[in-house]
Symmetry: C2
Subunit: 202 residues, 2 copies
C-alpha cells in the first residue's frame, strides 16, 4: 500500500512537471516567432478573476513539492513567488524537480494513514495522507496544470493533449495510435535504441 | 495495495462527477438568468480546435466509467454521444454514477498489476492497472473536467475552485478557511450538536 502512495505521487508529479517545462518552452518559442511580448502570455488569464499563467505554474510546483514533502514527512521548501519570465519559471520547475529527486519511496511508507496538517494563514487543514493525495493534491495539481495548458491553447500556442499527457509511463501502443502518442511500441524497441546510441557515439 | 486502487479511483470519480453535475446546474441557471441560449454555452470552446463543453463533459464520464470498469474487469457501458442540452448531460452523469455505484472494492483487488488493454479504432493501448490509473485515467479525467470548468469560467459563470474541488472527502478545517472550503470542522461537531440539542430540549 505504501509503495502505491509513492508511485501515485512523486513519479507522476515529476512526469508532468517535465511535460509542463516542455510546454512552456514551446510557448516561449511561439511568442518569439509571432513577435508577442512574452509578458503578454505570462500574464494571460481565462477570466479576469482567475490567476495568470505565471501564477498557475507557481501553484503547480507548489502542489508537487507540498504533496511529496508532506507524504515523505520532510519540510516543504518555500519558493518566493517572484518569477516574471519564462526562464525564471523554468528555473522554478527545475528547483522543484531537484527537490523531488531526493525523496525516496521508503519515506512515503505508511503515509496513507498518517495525519497531514497544513498550516495556512487563514486556518488549518488536516487529512489522512490518502485523502490529502486523492482529494487535495492531485485535483489541485491537475487543475492548475490543465489551466496553464488551457491559457496557452486559448492564446493560440500550438500544443496538444499529447504534450499534456507526455509519453505515458508504462504505456505500450500498437497501430496508428502508437505514433500519435509517441508511446513505446507494444513490441519492445530496446534493440533499436541500442543501435541509435551506437550511431550517436560514432 | 488493492484497496488503494479502489479508493484512488471510484470514490474520486463519483465525488467529481457530483461536483460537475452541480457546476453544470449553476451554468444552466446562469444562462437562463442572463438570457443566453444554453446551446451557446454548451457549444463554447477555449480554442477553435478544442472540444466544446458538451464534448468535454462526455469525455469526463467516459474516463470515469472506462477506468473503473477496466480496473474492476467488467464491460464498459457504451453511451451514444448525442447530448444537446444541460438536462441530457445531467442524465449522462447520473447514468455514469448508477454504473459506478454497482462496482465494489473487492472487484478492484489486484488491479494494480493486471494488464489493461484498450482496443481503439486506431490501435491498442496497454498498461498495468496502476500505470493506467495514474498515467492515463486520472490525468485525462482531470484534464477534461478542468477544461469544462475553464470554459464556464471563461464565459462568466459564477463558479469557483471550491465548486471544482467540492467538499474534500475526509478533510477537516479550522479557522477562516473552514467556511471557505465548506469542510467539516477539525473539532468534531458531534458533541456540540448534542449539546445544542440538549439546550434546545431545555
Amino acid at each position: 500500500m505504501s509503495e502505491l502512495m509513492y508511485l501515485s505521487s512523486k513519479p507522476m508529479f515529476v512526469h508532468h512537471l517535465k511535460n509542463l517545462s516542455a510546454i512552456l518552452k514551446t510557448a516561449a518559442r511561439d511568442a518569439k516567432a509571432r513577435g508577442i511580448d512574452p509578458a503578454v502570455i505570462l500574464n494571460a488569464r481565462l477570466a479576469p478573476d482567475m490567476f495568470t499563467l505565471t501564477r498557475q505554474v507557481q501553484i503547480v510546483t507548489d502542489h508537487a513539492k507540498g504533496c511529496c514533502s508532506r507524504l515523505a514527512d520532510v519540510a516543504t521548501p518555500v519558493f518566493v513567488d517572484d518569477e516574471t519570465t519564462f526562464a525564471e519559471l523554468e528555473a522554478r520547475i527545475q528547483r522543484t524537480l531537484i527537490f523531488l529527486k531526493e525523496l525516496k519511496a521508503p519515506q512515503f511508507a505508511g503515509s496513507e494513514s498518517r495525519k497531514i496538517v497544513m498550516q495556512l494563514p487563514i486556518g488549518t487543514l488536516s487529512f489522512s495522507g490518502l485523502d490529502f493525495l486523492n482529494g487535495w493534491s492531485l485535483p489541485n495539481f491537475y487543475f492548475h496544470y490543465a489551466t496553464a495548458y488551457n491559457i496557452l491553447r486559448h492564446n493560440g500556442v500550438g500544443i496538444g493533449k499529447r504534450d499534456f499527457l507526455g509519453v505515458v509511463p508504462g504505456m505500450k501502443a500498437k497501430g496508428e495510435i502508437a505514433k500519435m502518442m509517441a508511446a513505446k511500441p507494444a513490441v519492445k524497441a530496446k534493440k533499436k535504441k541500442k543501435q541509435k546510441k551506437k550511431k550517436k557515439q560514432k
